[in-house]
């Protein structure tokens, strides 16, 4: 050994070395053979079995029952082992030093420091206490919740809201970003949200329908994911439908500006329509039905109200004196007048099932196409018949799959068990609304005290000082990033609980690491609507790094105000899971045999074989008096006196065609920014979930960026080739995306899937988004005074080939630092 050179190492730390060296990280341990096991669990992407070896998840395979597993299962390892995981509780440095008085304009561009769990939870608690006592419940918004990970016990929304609710009252939301307009208008029309209602079963549709109109819905894309553990059974029916289309038994027409994945799967016809003009086309169809007396007057007389108040508007005898003829509509929607008539006649001649998607109502006046769709169906008179009528949700969570009729396991409770459990009883919102429409919270921060109309009431937007987000990423799902950035500069405190460094976390002050759903024991229903079974979500690995389950995080928070016993009801994780199972077993005891919990946990799943067919609105059709709809009158309301009584100019007593704030193909604003940006649900993620999974992202990203899909014509016009980087911009913002040129897209239409993570180049207002979040450029505007829902699909942009050196993608990192000044 070369001693001479080594001599510098002698006694190198000297006698005081102990002060410089911390405690050992290793301890003697007898060797333990790493055993290999298979476990079962579920997810939004379906059930799977996982092979665990050496304490890590090494392999995933779809659960055998699933005949059409999604390739997104492959992305799960990428979620667990993503380098974007939040590993420790972190606090924004500037905020740590100054708390609520910290300069909020540095939010998002500041350094973080690591703190212990105790410190982090103390800070969280102290902030809750400060905001409740200095302001009041109106200053705390803990109601913004979203898609969470699956699992009934650990559902993070419930945990956060129960825990914060045990401390005091807070602002809540109503509605959601997915279906805000639809779920608000439809109760007035057909008496239920429709968007979340069970739909007519596929076997009945396949058996009875002669025509299926897919109106702006992409079943094959969206049925890959489910609210609970998805079974993918609906794909069996899509395959059967494919065969019937091929045989000529069923005619399927996809009315969509874009050739959808479903259209390709079914190999069915497409009817192109200009974006955002569907209502004009539908009105013209109604005109045809009425003028050619193809409508079902008996049905209208028996089951509907207000047709006579509506039809004058169609026939040109209304206020605007414009007849909604096919010729009139053709000018707006770009569909040939003859073709409109032909479609109307076809639908009246055959048993026709109308199926709408949700993208249509995520636009300005998004209430109108849904209402008008119901009226078309009413005029056809097939509502309540198998294979007829209208559906708004066949693309969602296996709706339409014959259901078992079994009861699903309940969930960890969202609310405190008793109001007395609240530490701060103060429920004085000082005139502010305690519940606000889901998409209007940014308005509230920017313009507190503003009064807005909402669904027949007046909402006074609260002066929000603090927000708590859990498993929720508004920096993906809310519109207009730069406006949002301005709003966040007004907040005093933001707490984010998540497992990965989303943009929301980067814009927070306290960031708490939750573990993923794969690091905890839980229970879920297998098949959200069909309830095909109950699945054990067996913990695959222990929580990584310093992450904890939501249950543990919130129990510890509650311990700080001595409510932890009330919070947990004295039960631990497994006791909760077992009790949810037991309650479910009890509820099913007359219908299905379920084993004891221990056995169930060992088996991993219990399946129910019942396949009950259902016809939407059949009971109403059979006896409208005894089984009325949930509308004010109990009938289908073609004209709603109630809505008319609100006196809104943007949602009148019956469906109307209204021009949009921005519309392509010759509409307003198209001279400046000519392209319509469609930001629909992604094909390879669940909203923003899994975007951080690199193995999955590599399958679709273009030069590491989110794809922008466009037509060959547009590509040519802007000098863009497939694979180029594209700058997408309008007056609201700019982003980088990777071009995918495809025949599926018509001229004037581009698509960027929502859920792409936001990663600005720097923290300046208007900064270029480096990954491709479409909401960097979307419009933040309420759909109407009725629903105040999101209008993300009312958005025009320009594109150009990106020149120069592309900035590195910053979307998936931790907080970025700007050089201290």
């Amino acid at each position: 050994m070369a001693l001479s050179r080594r001599s510098f190492l002698k006694g190198i730390l000297g006698s005081g070395g102990a002060a410089m060296v911390g405690p050992s990280l290793l301890a003697p341990l007898s060797a333990k053979a790493a055993e290999e096991t298979w476990k079962i669990s579920g997810s939004h992407w379906g059930a799977f079995r996982a092979r665990i070896a050496g304490g890590t998840v090494v392999e995933l395979k779809p659960y055998e029952f699933d005949q059409t597993p999604t390739e997104m299962l492959e992305g799960i390892k990428g979620i667990i082992y993503s380098s974007s995981r939040i590993r420790y509780p972190m606090v924004r440095y500037e905020w740590y030093k100054n708390r609520g008085k910290a300069n909020p304009s540095t939010r998002g561009d500041n350094r973080f420091i690591r703190v212990t769990w105790d410190q982090a939870l103390d800070l969280f608690y102290q902030e809750l206490e400060r905001v409740q006592t200095t302001y009041g419940p109106w200053a705390l918004h803990a109601g913004q919740t979203g898609w969470r990970q699956t699992g009934q016990m650990h559902s993070c929304n419930n945990h956060m809201q129960r825990a914060v609710g045990m401390h005091g009252n807070y602002i809540r939301k109503v509605g959601d970003y997915s279906t805000g307009a639809g779920q608000t208008i439809m109760p007035y029309v057909t008496g239920s949200t429709e968007v979340y209602a069970q739909g007519t079963s596929w076997p009945l549709i396949l058996e009875n329908s002669k025509v299926i109109v897919l109106w702006a819905t992409d079943l094959a894309k969206n049925l890959q994911v489910g609210w609970n553990c998805e079974t993918h059974e609906s794909f069996d029916y899509l395959k059967q439908l494919q065969a019937k289309v091929a045989d000529g038994n069923i005619r399927v027409i996809s009315i969509d500006p874009v050739k959808s994945k479903t259209q390709h799967l079914l190999n069915c016809e497409q009817q192109y329509v200009h974006p955002q003009t569907d209502v004009a086309m539908m009105l013209a169809m109604a005109h045809t039905l009425y003028s050619e007396e193809l409508h079902d007057q008996d049905f209208l007389d028996t089951y509907t109200l207000g047709f006579e108040d509506f039809i004058p508007y169609v026939m040109g005898e209304g206020e605007d004196k414009i007849a909604k003829t096919p010729e009139w509509a053709a000018q707006i929607c770009g569909v040939d007048a003859e073709r409109i008539k032909e479609l109307a006649r076809l639908m009246a001649a055959e048993r026709t099932q109308l199926i709408f998607g949700w993208g249509l109502q995520r636009q300005q006046h998004g209430e109108q196409p849904y209402w008008m769709g119901a009226i078309l169906a009413a005029m056809l008179g097939q509502i309540g018949l198998p294979g007829g009528g209208v559906s708004y949700a066949h693309h969602y969570s296996s709706i339409g799959v014959p259901a078992s009729g079994a009861s699903a396991p309940g969930a960890f409770p969202l609310n405190p068990d008793r109001p007395e459990d609240r530490v701060h009883q103060n429920s004085d919102y000082q005139g502010y609304s305690s519940t606000i429409p889901v998409a209007r919270w940014v308005d509230a921060i920017l313009e507190p005290g503003k009064k807005i109309q909402y669904n027949g009431t007046t909402s006074t937007l609260p002066d929000i000082k603090m927000m708590v987000f859990s498993g929720n990423n508004p920096w993906h799902h809310h519109q207009d990033r730069n406006r949002m950035k301005r709003a966040f500069e007004k907040l005093e405190t933001v707490v984010a609980i998540d497992f990965a460094w989303t943009a929301t976390c980067r814009h927070a002050d306290i960031v708490l690491p939750a573990c993923t759903q794969f690091e905890r024991n839980d229970i879920d229903v297998y098949g959200s609507y069909c309830v095909r079974g109950v699945i054990a979500m067996q913990k695959l690995v222990d929580p990584l790094y310093q992450s904890r389950t939501d249950f543990e995080i919130m129990t510890e928070l509650c311990r700080r105000f001595d409510k932890h016993k009330q919070y947990t009801r004295g039960m631990d994780e497994m006791e909760w899971v077992a009790s949810l199972y037991q309650e479910c077993r009890e509820a099913n005891k007359d219908r299905y045999v379920m084993p004891e919990f221990k056995q169930f946990w060992q088996d991993g799943i219990v399946l129910f074989d019942g396949m009950n067919n259902y016809v939407h609105h059949a009971a109403f059709r059979e006896d409208p008096e005894i089984n009325p709809l949930g509308t004010p009158s109990g009938f289908i309301e073609i004209f709603s006196r109630k809505i008319a009584s609100f006196g809104y100019d943007d949602c009148k007593g019956h469906p109307t065609w209204m021009e949009k704030a921005e519309r392509s193909h010759g509409g307003p604003g198209s001279d400046k920014h000519p392209l319509w940006l469609q930001s629909c649900h992604p094909d390879y993620r669940l909203h923003s979930q899994m975007c951080e999974s690199k193995p999955m992202r590599e399958r679709y990203a273009v030069q590491g960026r989110e794809p922008i899909y466009m037509s060959p014509q547009d590509a040519k016009q802007y000098g863009i080739s497939d694979g180029d980087l594209v700058r997408v911009f309008n007056d609201r913002g700019q982003l980088l995306a990777g071009a995918v040129v495809s025949d599926n897209y018509p001229q004037g239409v581009v698509r960027i899937h929502e859920g792409a993570w936001y990663g600005p180049e720097d923290e300046k207002m208007g900064a270029l988004d480096t990954y491709g979040d479409p909401n960097t450029v979307t419009l933040d505007l309420g759909s109407s005074k009725l629903a105040q829902a999101t209008s993300a699909n009312t958005c025009l942009v320009s594109i150009e080939k990106f020149q120069g050196t592309a900035p590195e993608v910053t979307a998936f990192g931790g907080p970025s630092e700007v050089a201290p000044t």
Binding site: V174, D176, L305, N415, R569, P628, S633, K642
Partner: protein, 393 residues
């Protein structure tokens, strides 16, 4: 023979000539002591479990069931026997209970419940006797062992503590909540969902004419006191006024409003509000002699005319409570508990009365509630909707 008896009577009624007062008293005293001892021994013997399960009705039914419960086997080793719970410890009541047992003797002799089927068929009636007794005495027999004052709240789970503290505050009778703790519940009750079973335990058994009562679940209505001709269904959580009683039947008056479109089969609680009270059979709804009609008003929000009506029908005495708050409390708990699994849970006052049925229908796919309970919670939501909050109440 007669003369002998007469002689005996004479001897008995006259003062003793030959036996001294001391001997007589001593003899009587001794006989008394022996008698008292014997009486008590016999009484005690009839107060043992062995005696109770001496007949197979007890041994094969309730006794077997007891063995499955905590009152039979638990970690403390204390065990309850039949008389601990079923025989009053107070002397008078105990003797009365013993006399009452003559019915059981009768039953044994004539085989009233000599098969499992007969027993099951009669279980509700038998159980009701015991429940009534325990309700009335505040579950005295339970409290001989279990005292509210001796309960360690901290050792209880959060749920148990909450419930127990509330019960203790009112010194509630144990049996109110703990029916079925030692034997199986009657089938009809076990079938009801947990929630409604809880309410059924609080059902009223005494009715006063002119007073209002509220239905726990959907109940059949009849045109006759024999309860043979069905007239319709009273919805969960609906209000009726008792007019008269006849045996097991109540004559009730119902007031409400109905739309004039159709046959008028659906009776709603208030004008313009779709809060369903009764669904009538078509024949009844269209029978003017049965339904008294009053003024007609047009509902401005739908343009439909509504008519105020009143009618009298017959119904059974089960599943009615005298305080609607009992129903609302249960329904509110059910709503909070069952409905927090989805995107979010709207507050009661978030929607108006006529919007709730539609919203509720959309939420039902995700909750484990049976039909009766669904109706009850819906009614709760409607009656606490925006129409009834903000001072409208």
């Amino acid at each position: 023979m007669l003369s002998k008896l007469k002689a005996l009577w004479r001897t008995m009624t006259r003062p003793a000539k030959h036996i001294s007062l001391g001997v007589l008293t001593l003899g009587g005293f001794l006989a008394g002591v022996i008698f008292w001892g014997g009486f008590n021994t016999a009484l005690e013997a009839s107060n043992t479990e062995e005696f109770c399960i001496g007949c197979h009705e007890m041994r094969d039914n309730v006794y077997v069931e007891l063995q499955q419960t905590v009152h039979w086997s638990n970690h403390s080793g204390v065990r309850a026997t039949c008389p601990d719970c079923h025989v009053p410890h107070n002397w008078t009541d105990k003797i009365a209970r013993k006399m009452q047992a003559s019915k059981e003797l009768w039953g044994t002799i004539f085989g009233t419940i000599d098969t499992r089927e007969k027993f099951l068929a009669k279980r509700l009636e038998l159980a009701t006797h015991e429940w009534d007794r325990l309700s009335a005495n505040g579950s005295l027999e339970c409290k001989n062992c279990h005292e509210y004052a001796s309960m360690d709240w901290d050792a209880m789970s959060e749920v148990a503590r909450t419930q127990m503290e509330q019960a203790a505050e009112r010194d509630q009778s144990c049996i109110d909540c703990h029916k079925g703790i030692a034997h199986e519940l009657p089938e009809s009750m076990a079938a009801a969902s947990g929630a409604l079973a809880g309410l059924q335990r609080q059902a009223t058994s005494r009715f006063n004419p002119g007073q209002q009562y509220f239905s726990i679940r959907q109940l059949p209505l009849f045109t006759d006191s024999a309860l043979s001709q069905e007239a319709g269904i009273l919805n969960s959580g609906s209000v009726i006024t008792v007019v008269a009683q006849q045996g097991d039947a109540l004559q009730v008056e119902i007031d409400g409003w109905r739309k004039t479109k159709g046959f008028g089969r659906v009776i709603n609680e208030e004008f313009g509000q779709n809060i369903r009270e009764v669904t009538l059979e078509k024949e009844v709804a269209t029978d003017d002699s049965m339904i008294q009609g009053f003024e007609v008003q047009e509902d401005p929000l739908t343009g439909l005319p509504w008519q105020r009506v009143s009618f009298q029908l017959w119904m059974g005495k089960d599943d009615l409570v005298d305080d609607r708050e009992i129903l609302w409390q249960e329904a509110s708990e059910l709503y909070v508990k069952n409905c927090s699994t989805c995107h979010s849970q709207p507050e009661e006052a978030h929607f108006d009365t006529n919007t709730w049925p539609g919203m509720w229908a959309g939420m039902l796919s995700f909750v484990n509630l049976d039909g009766d309970t669904q109706e009850l919670v819906l009614k709760y939501l409607q009656k606490h909707s925006s129409d009834y909050s903000d001072g409208h109440h």
